[in-house]
Amino acid sequence: MWKWLHPYAKAERAYQLCNTLLPYFAVITLVCLVIGWVWGLAYAPADYQQKDSYRIIFIHVPSAILSMGAYSSMAIAAIIALVWQIRNAELAVISIAPVGAAMTAIALLTGAAWGKPMWGAWWVWDARLTSELILLFLYFGVLSLYHAFEDKKSAGRAACILAVVGVINLPIIHFSVEWWNTLHQGSTITKFDTSAIDPSMLWPLLINIVAFAGFVGLVTLIRLKNEIIQHEKHRPWVRELVGRGE
């Protein structure tokens, strides 16, 4: 079963796979981002309670979901790197982390800009907001740990261990609105039975989630290509590739 996966442990094959996937991610991101933003900003109806301020949801929710999604994929890559000692998985961890941090920063910033008109405060030390802020620090921690070591072997291992340990924060973020009495509103779309959102708002939201997921994938691929070249820069295949001007 694992046979078809195994060749991708080789850097050259992984690099080629990145090149194959890149254009698809680029197109999906661009198309969904344009449709999602125009639909969300101009065509979706205004909310009966929050009026037009709720339109921030179209970037706040996707970035928040992806901040956790990116962390999960980073943690999975970290486990693979630790257990099977696959170097590419380690490089993937380091490629995902900055994008995940960007998503977390967007979720926090848009949340602040939404909180001010709705709650009257840019920031409150609420369980949801605090745990999301910890997620941002976890991303920074993984990155700075990796760059703190001169020897990249131990650097990779340390960063991976922190990434795996930090997973404990994900369920805390997700259930924080249920476990504690928070100012942050409850889930909108992940209620299992019926979604608490009208289709006219749900569709642009879903398109934006796809757009943000595409963006995370796209930038991760670009960064992973860079990391592979950085790591393999003395190998003939990289020399040939770079010499061709690619």
């Binding site: 933003w37 900003l41 101009a42 065509y43 979706a44 109806p45 205004a46 009026k51 037009d52 301020s53 339109r55 921030i56 970037i59 706040h60 970035s63 900055p98 994008v99 960007a102 920063a105 967007i106 910033l109 848009t110 800009a113 939404w114 001010k116 008109p117 963006f215 796209l218 930038v219 670009i222 960064r223 290509k225 860079n226 070249i229 950085q230 820069k233 990289v238 020399r239 770079v242 010499g243 690619e246």
Partner: protein, 67 residues
């Protein structure tokens, strides 16, 4: 279309500042990380090419010494 005019669209029913602050900071972050990732790649490839040229020059210099 939910808005009658462009100025109404910008006003966002009085919440314009917050909505555009969100979308503005979001675009800025997305663009910044996208462009810096691409730029890192170009810089890295230039460095590898420079290193290759350097090694080529060293090789040539060594050959001339032998002659």
């Amino acid at each position: 279309m939910q808005f009658e005019s462009f100025s109404e669209f910008l006003a966002m029913g009085g919440y314009g500042f917050y909505v555009w602050l969100s979308f503005g900071s979001c675009s800025a972050i997305l663009l910044a990380i996208f462009i810096s990732s691409l730029r890192d790649g170009y810089k890295l490839r230039d460095e590898v090419r420079a290193q290759m040229r350097r090694e080529e020059r060293i090789k040539q210099a060594k050959q001339q010494e032998q002659v």
